[in-house]
Symmetry: C2
């Protein structure tokens, strides 16, 4: 029998990401024991009934005792409080990481709370769906996705860094090391602003008098529905992201708005050439995304395949 | 043997919509003969090699001769020219319709060109994908989608209106009658502005210096990739939509921008309550869309199912 990667892994928070981790840890036999902790009793019971771990603790400090790897998967606004709570109970030499979507804030919240005798390496798996809660997770969530790691001390090449990298690779991910500030800029562009824009357009539709909600729903297949997926993501998580990556988000939003002003001008002036140019230029990025295996290469994200009604042109 | 709905259907334009119509017409046996016409010889040859019709004509006037139903599926900017071209050849009593995404402009372009002895009923099937061309079509594209019809004379309850309604129902759609101006407002909100916003954010990403295109591609699964689908749609079609539904698009873009300004202010002020409120309010529309059968009820639009790697939480 091969030795598991870690004797004990503690998962603090058991939402979409935590519960997906629980599942892949079991599938890949990455831990001798998985201890799950979450603040709400109801959620902990849900995790228990899904048999996601070996032990269940309401008290996070209790859960991290003797754990070799502690993964904090909570809304980023709660990172500091969790760090404070678990700090006294952490085993010497333990690896502490997180999965939060903003990194400067999480590091600023957690690093001062954690004892020197642990390895704190911030992390962010670039994977997710619009669903939340323990039942939303699945073991393949991290496959072919990137996980960004941000060592908070000089951990380059350290055994802790190597172990955490091996862990994410065993989950199916590829690992990239990045500086926290750059992470926050990149994610503001590829994730935070797209979510805000999606929330915004759905909010606009919700408030409009000239078009009814019933009409929006009926005719949503013409484009609008694509935005409603992101706009149905977990409100607590996204509120926290906005509060904790404010500067980068505002910078990207301001770039987006400038570009939108130019686009409005092109529409107002009837500048077909400028419009055609933009609409052509944007196609390359999608090809790149598909080539990189970051999206499926089927029409409509494969919805018609899922509906079981696909009749491919070539069939 | 049952009589087909129409003896002869002429399809002018054989892109995504035209070629999907060709396929469903054959599948449902809706026509004795399908005649296909398109301006570019190469495209016509592609249609021929896909065996989409019974006859192929480069000359649209030739194609509509003796046709009982003529469906114009071209970029909306070309509607007037097509109407002018086919007008002299149209059979008395023929139904002429289109599938364009803007209706006031199409009617203004086509109606004056068409003879009084035909029934011109403008139409818009609310269905599509980001792909284009004859090979992109599939017979089930219109299933469970809405088709909006806009009679240009008083066709309420007329045999032509009934026949066209029956045709779209046979294609799997539900039919709604609407006034052209209202159509253009609704579609500006649910389709045109979403496409423009998607093109815009992808354009912003493309031009940014602080984040590389390689990074955008790698981390796109965190939200961005959802926008790239719409932003890879046909540039000619979307240029024409912008040029031909300008007023409604500018109005909706202005509402969107106002709301975005308020959202930016909430982020800047760290107004967690306002953010949480918006992020909660927007969830209802997605539930409505799923209940109405206008999107699939699986995480991530079912991408992981398509990738064949889904491990549902309940399994």
């Amino acid at each position: 029998m091969t030795q598991p990667m870690f004797d004990r892994i503690a998962l603090i928070g058991i939402g979409l990401i935590g519960s997906s981790l629980a599942r892949v840890i079991v599938r890949e036999k990455l831990a001798g024991e998985v201890v799950i902790s979450t603040r709400r009793e109801e959620t902990l019971e849900e995790a228990r009934s899904l048999e996601l771990g070996d032990r269940y603790e309401l008290d996070a400090a209790e859960a991290v005792k003797d754990a070799d790897l502690v993964i904090v998967s909570v809304p980023v606004g709660a990172s500091g409080a969790v760090a404070r709570q678990i700090a006294p109970a952490l085993k010497k030499g333990a690896i502490v990481t997180d999965v939060g979507s903003t990194k400067r804030s999480v590091i600023a919240q957690m690093a001062p709370e954690l004892p020197d005798h642990v390895h704190f390496i911030a992390g962010h798996p670039i994977a997710g769906t619009e669903k939340s809660g323990p039942s939303a997770g699945f073991a393949s969530l991290f496959e072919d996705r990137w996980c960004i790691l941000i060592p908070t001390k000089d951990e380059t090449g350290s055994p802790a860094m190597e172990a955490l990298t091996a862990f994410w690779e065993a989950c199916g991910s590829r690992v990239e090391v990045m500086e926290a500030g750059h992470h926050d800029q990149v994610l503001a562009l590829v994730s935070h602003v797209p979510h805000l824009i999606a929330y915004n357009i759905v909010g606009t539709a919700d408030e409009l008098e000239s078009v009814t909600e019933r009409e929006v729903i009926k005719y949503s297949a013409s484009g609008f529905r694509d935005f409603t997926r992101l706009a149905s993501s977990d409100p607590t998580m996204w509120r926290d992201v906005c509060l904790h990556n404010r500067d980068a988000i505002l910078e990207m939003l301001s770039r987006f708005s400038e570009d939108l002003t130019a686009l409005r001008k092109a529409v107002r002036r009837g500048d077909g050439e400028a419009l055609f140019d933009l609409f052509t230029r944007t196609r390359a990025i999608r090809s790149g995304i598909i080539e990189a295996g970051q999206d499926v290469d089927v029409a409509d994200f494969g919805r018609s395949v899922v509906r079981g009604k696909s009749e491919n042109a070539k069939s």
